[in-house]
């Protein structure tokens, strides 16, 4: 019984990080109809900035703050200087369908090379903001630490902040409106292009948090966030790519599910488990668990 409990706790911590990445993907998808593979690169870059700040100042939170800012700026920059140009040029012909996807891949490679040129390929690690020593219950110590709590709490705070932003503010309304019906939103006087850039900025900031939190428990290299991108994507697909709530639920389902596979089946089946979930969702409920009507096509 204790093992089940442990598994769920760790799954929640893992799921939190997936949730942030998957939210970042969904935010961009809703506004731009692009699955942004460069998100892993943007998050990695932001985390390197966070690493620089936190290792100089020896304050994790300052690093996190800078990672968010860097992520937001980079996200906005990518949309403004890159996606707009792309959509202006590659808007018809056989490549129109594939151009955005491929462009984000190119961007991932570009950011990776840039990070490699700047910081090199060595593993970096960030001072953890909280102890990684597990809690002791009775006379046994469980592999669930204050750091895990911190990850869950930070994620929860960000989710709440996003919920308030989207439900209670004009900006949130504008973001939602331009995601669901861009033409109508435009007619209603919303500057959809600017709103979209803001959406990218939020996604970038959230991705930065995901990168910092996952690195706090692990290490950083130009390749260290690739797996996070894949799991974030799977979580987003479980949620249907459209729904932010769905993405978060999908992430926790995936996080807990994979931790169960880890604890009860074996490490080598984790990835295969994740992939199987992805295929099953796509076959049984391709519009995700949150779908009501038919999802829009790209």
């Amino acid at each position: 019984m204790q093992k089940v409990f442990e598994t769920i706790l760790i799954g929640l911590s893992t799921g939190s990080i997936y949730a942030l990445m998957s939210l970042a993907l969904v935010l961009v998808w809703r506004s731009t109809r692009v699955v942004n593979f460069a998100q892993a690169g943007q998050a990695m870059f932001s985390t390197y900035i966070g690493f620089e700040i936190s290792s100089r100042s020896e304050v994790f939170w300052l690093g996190l703050l800078f990672a968010i800012v860097a992520g937001a700026l980079l996200g906005a920059g990518v949309d403004y200087f890159f996606m707009r140009v792309l959509f202006k040029h590659a808007n018809s012909g056989p490549a129109a369908v594939v151009a955005p996807v491929i462009a984000t891949l190119g961007l991932l490679g570009l950011i990776r090379s840039f990070v490699g040129l700047t910081w090199g390929g060595e593993f970096k690690s960030i001072e953890t903001p909280a102890s990684t020593n597990g809690f002791t219950i009775g006379d046994s110590t469980i592999p669930f630490s204050p750091l895990n709590v911190l990850i869950i709490v930070t994620t929860a705070l960000i989710l709440i902040a996003l919920a308030i932003l989207f439900q209670r503010t004009n900006l949130g309304l504008a973001l939602r409106a331009s995601a669901y019906a861009p033409e109508i939103a435009q007619l209603a006087g919303i500057r959809t292009a600017r709103t979209r850039t803001i959406g990218w900025a939020i996604a970038g900031g959230v991705g930065g948090v995901a990168g910092m939190l996952v690195t706090a428990n692990n290490f950083l290299s130009p390749y260290s966030l690739d797996l996070l991108l894949v799991f974030g994507f799977i979580a987003a697909v479980i949620g249907g790519l459209e729904s932010m709530v769905g993405a978060v639920i999908g992430a926790f389902v995936l996080g807990i599910g994979l931790t169960f596979i880890l604890n009860y089946v074996g490490t080598s089946l984790v990835f295969i488990g994740g992939f199987t979930v992805l295929i099953l969702v796509l076959i049984i409920k391709p519009d995700g668990i949150m779908s009501r009507g038919k999802a829009r096509r790209a």
Binding site: K3, E6, I10, T14, G116, G121, E122, F123, K124, S125, I126, T128, S131, T132, N133, G134, T136, T141, I142, P143, S145, N217, N218, F219, S221, P222, Y223, L227, L258, T259, L262, N263, G266, T267, S268, V270, F271
Partner: protein, 430 residues
């Protein structure tokens, strides 16, 4: 002897070249590929970028630093050594492409210290190392499959194989840790499979056994290993895998206050890399590891002291096991080149390795197994204990060396005394 040239010409030109080669070989001037009167060109492929690069990416620069030192002190019979490093990102495809460049375009004389099991397997077959008779010295992998003079006639290993390592660990457990509950975490590829067989042969049974797939290691995965080990009550845990898996395993164990007697395989136990991965150094305290070399911090060791000086002057990298290994490969390469004589040829180099290789000075404590019938380098380990700073000392205070082979041979304690470091680290052998 007809030399295989890289350029493809017509029959006529080939025949001309061949006779020219015959003629040239009788002259004192040297006409071997990659060797001129003033230079010897060597090549290495290794991961300089990519997920597998940390640690390994320091080996090439360390070798280069040693060669620079030798070059400034007269080179090898007046020839200066040039080392060409090529980045293969640990991908077999790139290893082949880059080795092709080394052999066909840069025309190196020999390969030294190429890295990676799959990488060298692919390179050896596709590039045709044996057929082209290119010497490949000091392969940086412990895969026991390379220990075959028949299949790899021009290649020589340096590290003791994973199989040897596991046999020695098994022997050590039988001698020192009987009656304890045993756990094993291993990467289920050539690291682990070799190890598994060796433990089985030695009659060591594990109460908890956890295989993992390369690439799946992470903090989350490690948490599950730890809960399984703790649940099984393992008091001694043997680990055979790479450093990126050791790191989360030890970190998570420290977090969960699970402290068995660790026995870490040599591949995954470099303290500096572990520290760079954020492992609290204290968890290493008391961990056992089979080791071939002295600690890179042991300045009382004549080899380490000399290499550190060279590193400070020519390389300026953090001096760790990888740098030590790179320097040592450099040292052995220079001895091999000297042993091959002034009239340097590929065939001569291989003959020299076979006839004189076993007497080379090397930082590792165990004997070298090179002979006419064996391409195996070091053949043994001692067990070391790590301290709270991540430094290692021989278990029990002094080095107890075990030697063995990769097959069914026995594990024996050995009194072998390694040759002394050549004065100033500059070999004078011939």
């Amino acid at each position: 002897m007809i030399r295989k040239t890289a350029r493809k010409r017509t029959w006529f030109v080939a025949a001309l070249l061949a006779s020219a080669g015959l003629f040239a070989s009788t002259l004192p001037a040297n006409a071997e590929t990659g060797v001129s009167s003033s230079e010897i060109k060597l090549g290495i492929t290794l991961p300089l970028t990519g997920a597998a690069s940390p640690g390994y990416n320091k080996i090439g620069n360390a070798m280069n630093a040693y060669f620079k030192y030798v070059n400034e002190n007269g080179g090898v019979y007046g020839r200066k050594i040039t080392l060409i490093q090529k980045n293969d990102e640990y991908s077999p495809q790139l290893s082949i492409a880059k080795t092709n460049e080394l052999i066909l375009k840069d025309k190196v004389f020999a390969l030294v210290g190429p890295l990676g099991t799959a990488n060298f397997t692919a390179v050896h077959k596709s590039v045709g190392i044996a057929k082209r008779k290119v010497p490949s010295l000091f392969l940086n992998t412990g895969f026991s499959g390379f220990a075959s003079k028949k299949n790899y006639p021009t290649s020589f290993t340096i590290l003791p194989s994973y199989a040897m390592e596991a046999k020695i660990v098994a022997q050590f457990i039988k001698e020192n840790l009987t009656g304890k509950k045993l756990g094993l975490v291993y990467q289920n590829d050539e690291f682990g499979i070799d190890a598994l067989g060796a433990f089985k042969d030695a009659g060591v049974k594990f109460d908890v056994s956890i295989p993992y797939t390369s690439g799946t290691q992470s903090a989350a995965t490690a948490q599950t290993w730890v809960s399984q080990l703790a649940a099984g009550g393992a008091q001694v845990v043997v680990f055979f895998g790479v450093t990126s898996a050791t790191a989360p395993l030890l970190a998570v164990s420290a977090a969960a206050k699970y402290a068995p007697q660790w026995i870490l395989g040599s591949v995954g136990s470099d303290p500096l890399t572990l520290r760079a991965l954020g492992v609290p150094v204290a968890v290493l305290n008391g961990a056992l590891t089979p080791a071939g070399n002295p600690s890179p911090n042991d300045t009382s060791d004549e080899y380490v002291k000399q290499f550190q000086e060279i590193n400070a002057k020519y390389n300026n990298a953090d001096f760790d096991d990888y740098v030590l290994q790179g320097m040592n490969i450099g040292l052995m390469t220079v001895q091999a080149l000297r042993a091959a004589g002034r009239n340097l040829t590929r065939a001569g180099l291989i003959r020299a390795m076979e006839s004189k290789g076993s007497s080379f000075a090397s930082v590792a404590y165990s004997p070298l197994g090179y002979s006419k019938t064996s391409n195996v380098g070091h053949t043994g380990y001692y067990m070391a204990v790590m301290d709270a700073k991540g430094d290692r000392k021989p278990y029990g205070g002094s080095v107890v060396l075990y030697t063995t082979d990769s097959a069914k041979g026995p594990v024996v304690k050995s009194n072998f005394k390694r040759p002394a470091m050549p004065a100033k680290g500059l070999p004078t052998n011939s």
